[in-house]
């Protein structure tokens, strides 16, 4: 049974339908990439999975149990965490407070040890622990966002364009972190503009366009498909 399964999902903002009949699945321990042109509905799918947008048709299940129609603060208790593309940190708070908020659902006695693990995993955060996130660079914010999402030790991490707006060097660092996260047993579903890079490290990928499934397969299959390469991977 897949960990996360979206089946025939239709969703959007208000009366506007952005996704039509989209289906994806993520298995335990996998990295799955969602790629496609701008406006394809990738971020909309992430938000819908996480309950930030209503599912108008179709089903979303996690461990086989339906989660569509549930509130985000409810979904996060099930073992999946989400890092939005923008506004993914509390800018008025320090790094440490952001991690505390990531562990909002934990018992107070667990927060300290979890934070310790995050600092070990992302040592740069420890140096900056008392700094306000509002004044930090894009790459550092992305790390704070990921660190906060990992506080609950999720089984599945949803990442919406983790490398957007970062310099090539930082992109490599972020991808490296994602690989390390995955290596520790966390399944990852990510939306990426850096399609080639993300597909190269993904087990599988889905190509969305115009709010619908266009193609799916393993990372290599998508990279090898001439149509996909021409249309969505920029040559």
């Amino acid at each position: 049974m897949p960990l996360l399964k979206a089946d025939g999902v239709t969703a959007g903002y208000g009366d506007m339908e952005i996704l039509r009949d989209v289906s994806i699945a993520v298995n335990d321990g996998e990295i799955v990439s969602l790629i496609g042109p701008n406006g394809a509905g990738k971020s909309t799918l992430m938000k819908t999975v996480f309950g930030l947008l209503p599912t108008k048709a179709g089903t979303i299940t996690y461990h086989g149990k339906p989660i569509h129609g549930r509130e985000p603060h409810d979904i996060v208790t099930l073992g999946l965490c989400y890092v939005p593309q923008v506004d993914n940190v509390f800018t008025s708070m320090t790094v440490e407070e952001n991690l505390d908020m990531g562990g909002y659902l934990l018992h107070d006695r667990d927060i300290g040890s979890r934070k310790e693990r995050i600092y070990e995993f992302l040592p740069r955060l420890r140096e900056r622990r008392h700094q306000r996130v509002g004044g930090m660079s894009g790459g550092e914010r992305q790390m704070v966002a990921m660190g906060s999402a990992l506080m609950l030790e999720p089984e599945l991490l949803l990442l919406d364009e983790p490398s957007a707006g970062l310099s090539p060097k930082l992109v490599d660092e972020i991808f490296d972190n994602i690989r390390r996260i995955n290596a520790s047993g966390v399944a990852v579903l990510m939306v990426e503009q850096n399609a080639r890079k993300s597909l190269a490290m993904s087990d599988r990928g889905y190509v969305l366009a115009g709010g619908q499934n266009r193609f799916d397969g393993t990372g290599e299959e998508i990279l090898a498909d001439p149509d996909m390469a021409r249309l969505y991977l920029g040559g």
């Binding site: 985000p72 603060h73 800018t91 708070m93 908020m101 909002y104």
Partner: protein
Amino acid sequence: MNGPESPQSEVAVADERRLGERIRATIQTRAFLVIVIAIIIAGLYAGGLVAGTSGTRLLWLTVWGLALGGIIALGGIGLTLVYGVMNFPNFSHGALVSLGAYVTMSFMALLPQGPTIWPMSFGYEFLVAMLLAMPVVGIVALAIDRVVYRRLRRTGAHLVLFAMASLAMLFFVQSMVYLGWGPDFHNYYPGRPNPALQLPLGIRVRGDQLFILALGLVFMVAIAAMLEWTRMGKAMRATSDNPQLARVRGINTERVIAWTWVLGGALATAGGAMYGLSAQLRPEMGFWLLLPMFAAVIMGGLGNAYGAMAAALIIGVAHQVSASFLNPTYGPAVAFVLMVVTLLIRPQGLFGRGGG
């Protein structure tokens, strides 16, 4: 509409813009705002001296101003938290202040009147009545949210509709006060004097004013501790900072909103009761405080409770000191000037994020 401009003039415009932006960047710093506000306050003191007010009297006025600032702060904390968490200016907050003052009065009528606590003018029944009124008004605020604002939230309504609904609720609650207690002015203790105490440095302050100042500080410290250390406080700050992310992190924002209303209503009641103690109860007392409260909220930075408290104290002092040479009813105008200066220089306020 505009005719084609020559490339030269475009360059000139661009240059001008860059210079303008540079000037603006210098002006929009926190330091500049602090300097301008300091100059305004200094000007008010100078105005008082020029008008023949003695230095010691200006000193009392400052202490009174801090007491008034405590009242404004109590109202302003709720206003700024609602602004931060729900992102709309809640005009009905003023009416909650009035309602709180009157509900306190009604509870007092039910309680046995105890001896006066020296050096204040009131007995324990006043404090008990206020503590009883606080949750009552908090629940009224929550009920209004459930009936009005929550529906708007569900439809994802624009800020404007929230503002308008809050205007409607301002007049709704205010007319309830008029209906329930009538248009006449009231005193908590009609005819009971509260003689001024003689403090060092020639300061003459009434015991009530000291009490208001002390209670204001107690509440402020309590609120600060709550926001800093408790789960709900952190959740409030997080929701105010980024509501969507707060939900993603597992915070039940509806519950945060509910507690924000209860807390805001309760603090507004404390502010109203304090204001009623220092002046009189009038149905429009909260409307009169609305402008100073909003000034504190904007000066402190939207959603920033600490900022609102600090700004409220500044505004209270400015308000009282200006009374040394201006008709005291112009107090809201002084607050307004400070607010507009803040908006012009640094709309994110003294303690808001962004900029230098």
